[in-house]
Assembly symmetry: C2
Homo-oligomer: 303 residues x 2
């Protein structure tokens, strides 16, 4: 099993911090350890699709978990397990969002989407199994006495009050009579992408049983900046760079931060949010520099 | 919110035990309490579809959780929360299994399936949100010091090693060159329906930190009997009684316990398994009579 999958890179490192590579390595090793040898050909196919979907992302959420855990004196072993958990949730959400009944995308992370490479039922089931895997990974005493709080938080962040609720609003907007207002697209973002980013940024504090208020403020601003940057990339980026289709929002007449604010104002707002994110971490001093770098990277990235 | 949903019966009681009605009532009250007032029309639609899918089932898994919790001296409040959790997982799996890319069913629990009543994206997302809800419900200190073990067990039971893996095998069988052997359909059942039933039957022992070996043996035999009974109903039942399409397996030329064993031998095996299930509980004495009744009911049911 390990051999069959060893050519896969679980997640491709972001290009801005050497410590991230160690984090990615630890997360990848965790992944190998946490899958048993499949007992049937069907289980092997399912697990292969799960790894395929995990591979090649920016690993922003994993990075946030690992850095916030380091800030709060947690071990890399525990942090990598929680980091992999949130990447499982993120990967499952991408598989399901790409399905023909939702965004109907052919390309993700520079590769065919799971339903294009295999078929729709494999895509639905690999997503379902990745969600279960996330909670299995978190439900370990290795994560300490606050593991249950991590589980509860991730469940709320990814469910009807969070990520799935946001995706539902996003799809409803496509058939709504009027395009969404700025407040409404903020609400979509708050759930669809913001909830997991906030959970990731605050995970280390939760693990340590410390206050997570500052990291949540950071995660809130970072998540919004990330979405605005995504909307900008949809206008300015290329499919070759981003590894997914671009220009889709404008083609669909969909309201985005760019269509509502204009390109320049959207860039200014993203930049202001990054500043807010960095300021929120002032009490952590120089220790949080890596998280500040990540925030700056989020709006500078080309993919 | 509560008003809008108050006409829904969360789960329809089985007809064999008065104590079950109390259990169902407690589970239903738990359900009302555990959903916040939706903050958008899209979230309300999502939550409505989630409740719709939960409604009207046999609640066998909820019943097993509640009875095994009672056997181990747990409170009804805690048990109902875990019972609702496993019903959320079961309901999500039915929604996704019914999708056009899997079983493509129009009827479930006597009502249109979620994707027929709404649409496919609502079905995928309501299923996803129900899975998250299950883990949210379990991740509560009310479930005691072993809540994390409940989470881990449910995640494994519902993921690639359990329910989802079994569904993947079941679908793979449809396009396989040869029909499945008896060993192979047992492996499908062990994952697809057995894993959740075993988890449910042993949940009370896990909550109490006691040995769950006997309840797992009971759950194992009960789960297999349940599947054989399902295959028998697919041959002998009517859509009006079962609330879902019947005769599908034979029409599809699919190997089932009935096609491999013949109707009479299948009935005998189901009956033997029920006896084994009842015997596994001998050390619990008369306290476990309700679970024994449930096992007998499973093969006597008409839906």
């Amino acid at each position: 099993m390990q051999q069959a999958l060893s050519h896969l890179m679980l997640i491709e490192p972001l290009a801005f911090e050497p410590s991230l590579e160690r984090a990615i390595e630890a997360t990848r090793e965790t992944a190998w350890d946490r899958f048993r040898a499949p007992e049937s050909r069907a289980e092997a196919a399912l697990v292969f699709a799960m790894f395929y979907a995990l591979e090649g992302g920016k690993a922003l959420r994993a990075f946030l978990v690992i850095e916030s855990a380091r800030l709060h004196g947690q071990t890399m072993t525990a942090a990598a397990q929680a980091a992999l958990a949130v990447e499982c949730i993120h990967a499952y959400s991408l598989i399901h969002d790409d399905l023909p009944c939702m965004d109907d995308d052919d390309l993700r992370r520079g590769k065919p989407t799971v339903h294009r490479k295999w078929n729709e039922h494999t895509a639905v089931l690999a997503g379902d199994a990745l969600q279960a895997k996330a909670f299995e990974l978190l439900a370990t005493p290795e994560l300490g006495g606050n593991a249950l709080e991590l589980v509860r938080g991730l469940a709320v962040a990814s469910g009807h009050e969070g990520m799935v609720g946001g995706q539902m609003m996003d799809i409803a907007a496509e058939t709504a009579e009027a395009p969404l207002t700025l407040e409404q697209i903020k609400a979509v973002q708050h759930g669809k992408t913001g909830a997991l980013i906030r959970w990731s940024a605050s995970a280390g504090a939760v693990m340590a049983g410390a206050s997570s208020a500052e990291l949540e403020t950071y995660g809130e601003a970072l998540g919004l900046a990330f979405q605005i940057a995504d909307d900008i990339l949809d206008v300015e980026g290329s499919a070759a760079e981003t590894g997914k289709a671009v220009g889709k929002d404008a083609d669909a007449g969909k309201a985005t931060f760019v269509s509502l604010l204009g390109l320049d104002a959207a860039k200014r707002q993203a930049s202001d949010l990054v500043e807010q994110a960095c300021e929120a971490l002032s009490s952590y001093g120089a220790d949080a520099e890596c998280l500040r770098e990540a925030a700056r990277f989020v709006i500078a990235r080309r993919k």
